[in-house]
């Protein structure tokens, strides 16, 4: 299974990939999680890969190889399109964050990305930001999206809940479980 998580530096994609990695170990798979640290964490495009199966060699996912793309922002979803395999599924947060070339006016934020994506691929677009707000903080976007992802896999819900409890700090567990449920039950 190849899952690619994309977003904007600072959105909490690392936590999402760590929860997912933990879920995969619990299921007894070989796992590789490729993260990005450093420069791009400063508001740039960020990509993490989670791969699991009987044996995983390369930690990265190439074009046309992702079974699922989990996108934290809709322009990043669009950018990741070539990585989705034919017949794969994309789960995307509809939130828009302007990149600097759009802010400076050098480029335009493409219009109707959701519609364009839906014409080409199996897309589940969700306003995860509002759901996170419902859970109590916009910072929980990552766990709302993990909820949505969980629903798209055959892995038992209890495994996901356990992985969240083991990954997030004690005092945020309740909030994150709520965020997870909001995504999962959508």
């Amino acid at each position: 299974m190849n899952i690619m998580i994309v977003g904007v530096g600072g959105q909490g994609t690392l936590l999402a990939s760590r929860i997912l990695g933990r879920v995969a170990i619990k299921e007894g798979y070989d796992v590789k999680v490729s993260e990005v640290h450093g420069m791009s964490q400063r508001g740039g495009s960020v990509v993490t890969y989670v791969k699991y199966g009987d044996e995983v060699y390369s930690p990265i996912i190439g074009k046309g190889e992702a079974d699922i793309v989990l996108a934290f922002e809709i322009l990043e979803a669009y950018r990741a399109l070539p990585y989705l395999r034919k017949g794969g599924k994309m789960i995307a947060n509809t939130q828009k964050i302007n990149p600097m070339p759009v802010i400076t006016g050098a480029m335009e934020y493409p219009a109707d990305i959701e519609k364009k994506l839906a014409e080409k691929i199996n897309l589940q677009a969700v306003d995860a930001l509002s759901l996170a707000e419902q859970a109590g903080t916009i910072k929980a976007v990552n766990v709302v999206l993990i909820g949505l992802l969980a629903k798209s896999t055959s892995i038992d819900k209890s495994v996901w809940l356990e992985a969240i409890k083991e990954t997030v700090p004690e005092k945020f567990i309740e909030l994150n479980l709520k965020a997870f449920e909001l995504g999962y039950n959508l």
Binding site: I25, K32, V33, H37, G38, G62, E65, I97
Partner: protein, 579 residues
């Protein structure tokens, strides 16, 4: 149970299990987390040194004194420590000494893409290269054995994809490792020419002995699948090859990439119709093979640049195309990294751009001041170069040019290698203005403490270098502290100091917006009121939270942290700090 660990975390685990007791490093992506994970173990002295040279010498000293020691750095950090490294090869070690160097193929976070394997060969120091986290742990332990067995420092070469990928590792018990006796031994440790001449002989004999070891060690392993294609690879490139070719190739996996075996390679290569060398960056293994007269395919089929991937290997070796995929069919705007909302550096560059300054830049979050719309940085070379390069610029072009010239350098970078440049300016009658961007932390690499922050890596309070007294002691008489968010005053200070016919330092002081106290201090978000006249001056800040929508300006509340810099820039008082 096996644990999912970053390669860096697994190196730390290996160091712990090997009984390391002294670790000195300077941060640098992708190596930083090794040291940050070692700190989690008790009874190991761990520190952030001011720079890599100091770190290396500290670790070498610990080794000479009998401890197992380690230093970790990114590839360019190895340039900074090259001086002690080359001579450490001559002295050899007492306790095992391992140097972990992380290359950055693809330059995810670096200013160049140098291949550190050349250092192993040049300094005649053996180098191991793991392919995943389990090997990171195993090879670290092997490196200590090698180091003590052959009386040599040992390199561990990592890369972004090994350092920053998590894979499964089984934890083992810590070895019982005792401090070795310290015995005074000037012939070995005092590298005067007379002694060094003799040590050079030792080094050459040692590398011969380790080459014999390379023929036999299971760090270098052969995997036969009955194929007609042979592949020689190491590190992450081996994993890419394995994924691309699976059982359709036979492999010679090199865990030790210097010194390389001769018989093993010749024998392996002799069995195949075609032998591919799959290695990112330079043709290091390839040139070795060709020197042995072994016929291999390397850079004729593969690039010298960037990262490899399984699809390109499949194409090059088997001629098979990659998977099909969809494309957007229109230009998707790039999303380069930006200074965060609330970044103190933004105020500095806003002013420097406004004043039309030539900016001799440096390395850190503030390198982002080179990107539009701030676009103020003229040069970025290596850590510390902002100060010394500006000195050279001023000497080349004279006083008038110097009045429009400043250096910008972060607090960590100033401690790393900016001080000596400033000494040069004062000593050699320069009149430069150096702006130290004091955001109270080493920002770019993810918030490490440094000598100016007042805390150690373990967050224990410690003596804090006072930048003002330090600069004064060097001989800079004019040292001014200014808040870069008070843009009016900051502009005035920059004008005054650049006019001055004497060297001067401006300490731009405001903590990084991501530090916990600042997260608390900034609250809510800024709002644009109906006093806005749409002059769009605030857009010049390049704040990720402010953008134009239609003909009006808008603040994205999910991005704004309420730092208030824009309220200081708006000439009409039309932006208010809300909550």
């Amino acid at each position: 149970m096996k644990k999912l660990m970053l390669g860096n975390e697994a190196v730390a685990r290996g160091a712990y299990e090997a009984g390391v007791t002294v670790v000195s490093s300077y941060p640098g992506t992708p190596s930083t987390e090794i040291t940050e994970h070692i700190v989690k173990y008790d009874n190991i002295f761990v520190e952030w040194a001011p720079n890599e040279k100091v770190a290396c010498e500290t670790a070498l000293g610990a080794s000479i004194a009998g401890a197992r020691s380690m230093t970790c750095m990114k590839h360019v950090g190895l340039n900074v420590m090259a001086d002690p490294v080359f001579t450490a090869s001559y002295t050899g070690v007492n306790g095992g000494f391992v140097l972990c160097v992380a290359d950055d193929q693809g330059m995810h976070s670096s200013q160049n893409e140098q291949d550190s394997r050349h250092y192993a060969k040049a300094a005649k120091i053996p180098m191991l290269e793991p392919s995943d986290s389990a090997e990171c742990r195993d090879f670290t332990k092997a490196a200590y054995e090698l180091s003590e067995k052959f009386d040599t420092p040992v390199f561990m070469r990592l890369s972004t994809r090994v350092s920053h990928s998590q894979s499964l590792v089984e934890e083992r018990e810590k070895e019982d490792c005792k401090l070795k006796d310290y015995v005074k031994n000037p012939e070995k440790y005092v590298m005067t020419p007379g002694n060094a001449i003799k040590r050079h002989v030792v080094v050459e004999d040692r590398i011969k002995a380790i080459t014999d070891f390379a023929e036999k060690t299971d760090l270098n392993s052969v995997e036969e699948n009955g194929s007609k294609i042979g592949v020689i690879a190491s590190g992450i490139a081996y994993m890419y090859a394995k994924e691309a070719l699976g059982n359709r190739a036979d492999y010679l996996k090199l865990g030790m990439i210097y010194p390389l075996p001769e018989k093993k390679i010749t024998e392996f290569a002799g069995k195949y119709d075609k032998v591919y060398i799959i290695e990112e960056l330079d043709p290091f293994i390839e040139e070795h093979c060709k020197a042995l007269g072994v016929n291999v395919i390397g850079k004729d089929a593969f690039t010298l640049q960037g990262e490899y991937n399984p699809a390109m290997i499949k194409k090059a070796v088997l001629g098979e195309d990659a998977a099909e995929y969809d494309e957007a069919g229109e230009a998707v705007p790039v999303r380069p990294p930006v200074m965060c909302a609330g970044c103190p550096h933004r105020g500095v560059f806003y002013v420097l751009k406004k004043l039309g300054m030539t900016v001799s830049g440096d390395i850190g979050c503030y390198t982002l001041g080179s990107a539009p719309p701030l676009e103020s940085v003229d040069t970025t070379i290596c850590m510390g170069a902002s100060v010394s390069a500006a000195h050279g610029m001023a000497k080349a072009r004279g006083a008038e040019f110097n009045k429009k010239l400043v250096s910008v350098i972060g607090d960590s970078t100033f401690m790393h290698s900016g001080i000596t440049g400033l000494v040069d300016i004062v000593y050699n009658k320069g009149n430069n203005t150096v702006i130290i961007l004091d955001n109270s932390i080493t920002g770019m690499t993810g918030h490490q403490d440094n000598p100016t922050t007042g805390y150690t890596i373990r967050k224990e309070p410690t003596k804090q270098v006072n930048l003002i007294t330090l600069c004064k002691a060097i001989g800079v008489e004019s040292v001014v502290v200014a808040d870069p968010f008070d843009v009016k005053n900051f502009e005035k200070v920059v004008k005054e100091e650049t006019e001055r016919e004497a060297p001067s330092v401006i300490i731009a002081q405001r903590p990084c917006a991501l530090l916990p106290p600042m997260r608390k201090k900034y609250s809510g978000h800024c709002e644009i009121t109906d006093k806005c006249r749409k002059c769009k001056l605030c857009m010049k800040l390049g704040c990720p939270a402010i953008s134009v929508s239609g003909d009006s300006v808008k603040i994205d509340v999910t991005q704004c942290n309420g730092c208030g810099l824009c309220t200081n820039v708006c000439p009409f008082g039309a932006i208010e700090q809300g909550d």
